[in-house]
């Protein structure tokens, strides 16, 4: 038995998302998007909005719990929490907080949400020591780490292309996906312009408007609700030693920062990577995925080229189906919360790229930032 465990005490019972838009194209405010996604999750769960009594989010979501509770007309709320850190690192961590709040009895129905209308606001702030050298954006510092990993383990562009093509393949099956109806070939990928080597345009996630939400409640309450419950097996958040050291001084540099989390995750769930049926791995940039897969035990570093192949990544019969809704690259960049919803869909059996009999799904949130987080769910 793991020293820390939330296993099977809490279930995910409702999913919601708005229509996903290209950046700047949402016709309503970001706050309205958040409300809409939450109300859809409430409807999906078959509860009433006044049952909600908790909120969890991440990445300094601008739509704070007090405003949402007021706008939604909740009789009260009993839990509000935010995971520290930027990007998508807190996606699974917010689910962990919601699960913890339910298990501890702080709240009965906690909604995890993320809303973004990036056209209405700026993006993340940045740090110093790097700007004078033209190092400004995540694409560049992620590329520096990925290039080191590729050098150390003889990884080629083919591994990155496999991630992107799998995302686009799955998006063609998913009408929610922003890239639905826009298939991508390897030739188009190779011809697309460089953003920063080794990332072509298509290796980079989109920028989108929209919102996503999911509702957690106790396993007991979940039994009487509308949807097949999907249980939280385990969650973990954190980062390795000095992961946020400035000027690229994170000691374990060619890393996605999951090395200290994954063992805790599997121990809590009492399973190993061989038991996972489908994975949703955050891809702000494609090159982070192979490193994340290594750190979750799906292959050795020198086995990346064998695992990271299109045929392995696509549902229904790939060896390790990856990002089955299209992910950040081709469904929607909802800072990875769309990946959590997709993991739940796989365990419900309702994905548009369903893995037959999928029981256990893994989500890895926000590689290379600090903290990152992880989630395992089962049907």
């Amino acid at each position: 038995m793991a020293e820390y465990s939330i296993k099977d005490k809490v279930a995910i019972v409702g999913l919601g998302e708005t229509k996903y838009y290209k950046r700047g194209q949402a016709p309503v405010s970001e706050f309205q998007l958040a409300c809409e996604a939450i109300l859809k999750a409430v409807a999906d769960a078959g509860i009433t909005v006044t049952d909600l009594d908790g909120f969890a989010s991440y990445s300094n979501d601008r739509n704070d719990a007090a405003r949402l509770a007021t706008a939604l007309g909740l009789p009260h709320y009993a839990w509000a929490s935010m995971v520290w850190g930027g990007g998508g690192g807190g996606g699974s961590g917010a689910v962990a907080q919601a699960a913890a709040a339910v298990a501890a009895g702080y709240a009965k129905y906690v909604v995890v949400f993320r809303a973004l209308a990036q056209g209405q606001f700026g993006r993340f702030g940045q740090a110093a020591y790097t700007w004078p050298y033209g190092l400004f954006v995540p694409a560049q510092w992620v590329a520096l780490r990925v290039r080191r990993f590729m050098h150390e383990h003889r990884v080629t562009q083919d591994a990155l292309a496999a991630v992107v093509l799998a995302d686009y393949h799955h998006a063609q099956l998913n009408p929610r996906a922003v890239m639905y109806g826009r298939p991508l070939t390897r030739e188009q990928y190779d011809r697309s312009r460089w953003i920063v080597e080794p990332f072509h345009l298509y290796d980079c996630c989109m920028e989108n408007d929209g919102a996503a939400a999911l509702i957690l409640t106790s396993a007991e309450r979940a039994r009487d609700l509308k949807q097949k419950p999907v249980y939280v097996m385990a969650a973990a958040q954190g980062a390795p030693h000095r992961a946020a050291a400035a000027a690229e001084n994170s000691p374990d540099y060619a890393s996605s920062h999951f090395r200290t989390l994954a063992p805790r995750l599997y121990q809590m769930a009492e399973i190993g990577p061989q038991d996972v049926d489908v994975v949703q791995i955050y891809e702000h940039f494609s090159g982070a995925v192979p490193i994340s897969l290594v750190e979750h035990g799906f292959c050795e570093p020198d086995g990346v080229m064998d695992l990271c192949r299109l045929e392995n990544f696509i549902a229904p019969h790939g060896k390790l189906p990856l990002n089955t809704s299209g992910g950040n690259i081709a469904e929607c960049y909802m800072h990875g919360l769309e990946l959590v919803n997709e993991a739940v869909r796989q365990c419900r059996g309702s994905s548009t790229a369903q893995v037959p009999g999928a029981k256990i799904a893994l989500v890895a949130s926000g590689p290379m930032v600090s903290p990152v987080s992880d989630l395992l769910v089962h049907g």
């Binding site: 020591y129 700007w131 520096l144 953003i195």
Partner: protein, 146 residues
Amino acid sequence: MAENSPYYLPEGLPAPKAQRDGMDAGFWEALRRHELVVQQCARCQSLQFAPEWICHKCQGGNLGWHRVSGRGRLYSWVRSWNPVHPALKQAGPFIIAVVELPDANNLRMVGNLLGDPMQDAPFDAEVEAVFEDHPEATLVQWKLVR
């Protein structure tokens, strides 16, 4: 890159500035003298970069500066194409380098790799510091040691 410019990147990028609290002033002052330094803990002698207010090894609060040779190893580099800042709009691709300092416990610094932006520099190649004086501050850049 302008052929006759003394700088690797176009003018107009943010100039480096010591932090307002003074924590890293010694680093920028050393670069002005064309010296490369990292932080050193007076109590446990550990080296540290980027600067912090306390030593990450012993939590001591008395940190000074330790001069290093300026020889390094090209730990990683990328060729960056997208104009991520308005000043880079007219520029072509450029190379960002992460350099490890073997004589400073493999601490790392970020700079540009001087020379042809289309070069294919080998990982782990030996590089040396080149000081690039701007009106407001001095940058440390890197070039391959042939």
